[in-house]
């Protein structure tokens, strides 16, 4: 039983990271029906800004997190302005290819400065408690609580503020809503800023939990977060959160109770089965094709 609780805690930590990144995919898709494949690499850039803030500026945890979120949030806005906006009315394939290109650019740009894996210093003094045989570290608690806090905050922004209302409206109809005086470009920028800064927060926490970072770290985890978003129902914010926790739990539990070599194979087979029964994801709704 202790074993099960320990693994559940592991699943909760991994799941909250996946969920935070999945939010970025789902928000951009909800507004622009475009998949921002550079998001995993923005997560990586977030981890590197954590490194820069912690090592060169010597900042403690909270300012580091804020610096990383703000810088990467602005970077997300810039990427949207420079790379995606000119293609907004181009065929959707062009936008996807551009996003892949931006991702490759970010990886290789970081590679120029940091060809070696880098070590993140300890920002949070880590204490491990042993509660009835289950090891719980302060870092795990911070990651889980902070992720949930950020997700609740985002949910409130989307549901209770004017910006959030505008986002929901645009995701409903991108052509008509701007005619009613909603500034489309501003809202798209705000979406990118929010989505990528959450990705950066995930990057910071990931870098603290797994303190060796490299320019390629965003690729695999980006895919997994994207899959989480699809499982939860892409375009749906609460769905992305649920999808992240589901993928984290499935991955950890498969490795926990089966040979660990089966992990990805069984985990993704389960997700495929789920998509057969719920092709739009758990909370997703079919989008009617407008002719």
């Amino acid at each position: 039983m202790t074993y099960f609780f320990q693994q559940s805690l592991n699943a909760l930590q991994l799941g909250s990271i996946y969920a935070l990144i999945a939010l970025g995919y789902t928000m951009v898709y909800g507004i622009l029906t475009m998949i921002n494949f550079a998001h995993g690499d923005l997560f990586m850039v977030g981890a590197f800004f954590t490194f820069i803030a912690a090592v060169y500026l010597g900042l403690p945890f909270v300012p580091t997190l804020v610096v990383s979120m703000i810088v990467v949030g602005l970077l997300g806005v810039l990427i949207e302005r420079v790379a995606y906006r000119p293609l907004r009315n181009a065929p959707r394939v062009s936008a996807v290819i551009t996003a892949l290109g931006v991702g490759l650019f970010l990886e290789n740009f970081t590679l120029v400065f940091y060809p070696y894996p880098q070590h993140i210093p300890t920002l949070i003094q880590n204490t491990t408690w042993n509660i009835a045989g289950v090891s719980i570290s302060s870092l795990q608690i911070i990651i889980i609580l902070l992720s949930i806090g950020l997700m609740v905050m985002l949910d409130l922004i989307v549901r209770k503020t004017m910006v959030g209302m505008a986002m929901r409206a645009i995701s409903w109809d991108k052509a008509i809503i701007p005619l009613m005086g909603v500034p489309l470009n501003l809202i798209v920028s705000a979406t990118f800023a929010l989505g990528t800064s959450l990705g950066a927060a995930a990057g910071t926490m990931y870098a603290l939990a797994f303190p060796v970072i490299d320019p390629y770290m965003g690729i695999m985890i980006g895919w997994k977060a994207f899959i989480s978003a699809v499982v939860g129902g892409i375009g749906n914010i609460r769905g992305a959160m649920i999808g992240g926790f589901i993928l984290g739990t499935v991955e950890i539990m498969v490795a926990a109770f089966m040979p660990s070599t089966y992990r990805d194979f069984v985990a993704f087979a389960l997700l495929l089965v789920l998509l057969i029964f719920r092709p739009y994801g758990i909370l997703g709704k079919p989008r009617p094709q407008k002719v």
Partner: protein, 389 residues
């Protein structure tokens, strides 16, 4: 396309063509190629390989050149990056063979890159010496036990290394129960993990957990929790230096206190930078110990230190030895062409290198040599024991 852009593109293409023309050979040179992991997930390996290669070539050229068959040749070195990818290792090897026309290739180092590159070298009939690859498959044809004709290495092979580490765990650490966590997607890690398991169990130990992950994973919590539950007395991590620190840190966080044991993939000074104090006191097997060096090794270590400012790691030492083998083969053959290099390599039966004595049995590209066990102490790797072949 706008006119300005067109002119720009034409200029770029023209400059590329001109640059390609500039590399034509002059005088008597021997062209040698290097394929190294300069970028990707283990760049420290590539950097050491490149440094040692440049040093080995510079020493020959500064001394006037290499005398082969009564004629003195300068050495020209071509270094290609494989970006830490198997397919690029193969294409880099082909490029060196077909475009640069090299007589031999040194590298790649990691087995998962050396194996595909060695296939290209074998089919093109060009000698390839991998400095650091320890997986048996590098020098074997396909899935057979028949040796490749053109592929050699400077390192010992994993059946031997697995045995050394397993014996060390049993005899020196008095462990009867071991756990293994390894990268199932990498030839090297998978090979040595299986050899370790086989020897450990043959000699009376039990492997209580045999867990895997795939390259690029950073969260090992599920596997480590499982290992903790199995209560081993030692944990073997035959993984690369960039991953081992994460595994050890996460294990410590889960409350695992048993010692860790590693293999030659630990041997980069980056390990200590990334691991901090958490790797203190752990042991790993490798090719040579910089602090217990022979006179041959001391000379190399000194000149490497003056050139690059740090102590050469095992990759650097093995790359240097690979070049030593190549110079000997060229001298023995007395001619500079690909077939002669192969004939020369086959003539070498014994070579005293930086990493100790290597004995080559006829028909095999694998040297018989000894290993050392090093311990992580402070910011250094310290010699602990020798293991004879």
């Amino acid at each position: 396309m706008k006119k300005g852009t067109l002119i720009f593109v034409v200029m770029i293409i023209a400059s590329m063509l001109l640059a390609a023309c500039g590399t034509s050979a002059e005088g008597d040179v021997i062209k040698v190629g290097v394929v190294a992991e300069l970028t990707g997930d283990i760049p420290a390996v590539g950097a050491s390989c490149k440094n040692a290669a440049e040093l080995a070539v510079k020493e020959i050229n500064d001394a006037g050149g290499l005398e082969v068959g009564g004629k003195t040749y300068k050495i020209e070195l071509f270094i290609e990056d494989n970006a830490g990818k198997a397919d690029q290792s193969a294409s880099a090897a082909s490029k060196l063979i077909t475009q640069q026309n090299v007589v031999a290739i040194i590298g790649p180092n990691a087995s998962r890159y050396a194996i595909p590159a060695s296939e290209i070298a074998e089919s093109s009939k060009v000698v390839l010496i991998s400095p650091w690859s320890t997986n048996p498959k590098t020098t074997l044809k396909g899935d057979t036990t028949e040796p490749k004709q053109y592929v050699f290495r400077a390192a010992f092979i994993d059946p031997f290394q697995g045995r050394v580490v397993a014996k060390f765990a049993l005899d020196n650490l008095n462990a009867k129960k071991a756990a293994v966590l390894y990268d199932v997607a990498s030839d090297y890690n998978k090979g040595i993990a299986e050899f370790f398991k086989a020897t450990f169990e043959e000699n009376g130990g039990t492997v209580v957990a045999f867990e895997t992950y795939t390259t690029g994973d950073k969260d090992f919590s599920a596997q480590l929790t499982k290992i903790k539950e199995a209560a081993p007395e030692v944990i073997f991590l035959p993984n690369y230096y960039s991953e081992v620190p994460l595994q050890i840190q996460q294990a410590h966080r889960l409350g695992i206190t048993v010692p860790f044991l590693g293999s030659d993939s630990w041997g980069s000074s980056e390990l200590i930078t990334l691991c901090g104090a958490e790797c203190e006191g752990y042991f790993f097997s490798t090719h040579y110990a910089a602090d217990a060096a022979t006179p041959v090794a001391t000379k190399f270590i000194e000149s490497y230190k003056t050139t690059y400012g740090n102590t050469p790691d095992d990759v650097a030492a093995l790359t240097y030895d690979s070049f030593g083998l190549l110079w000997n083969a060229l001298k023995a053959a007395g001619k500079v062409d690909r077939e002669s290099v192969r004939a020369g390599m086959a003539m070498i039966t014994n070579y005293e290198g930086v990493t100790g004595n290597m004995a080559f049995e006829s028909g095999s590209g694998d040297p018989v040599k000894s290993a050392v066990i090093l311990q992580v102490k402070g910011d250094k790797f310290v010699w602990f024991a020798n293991a004879a072949p």
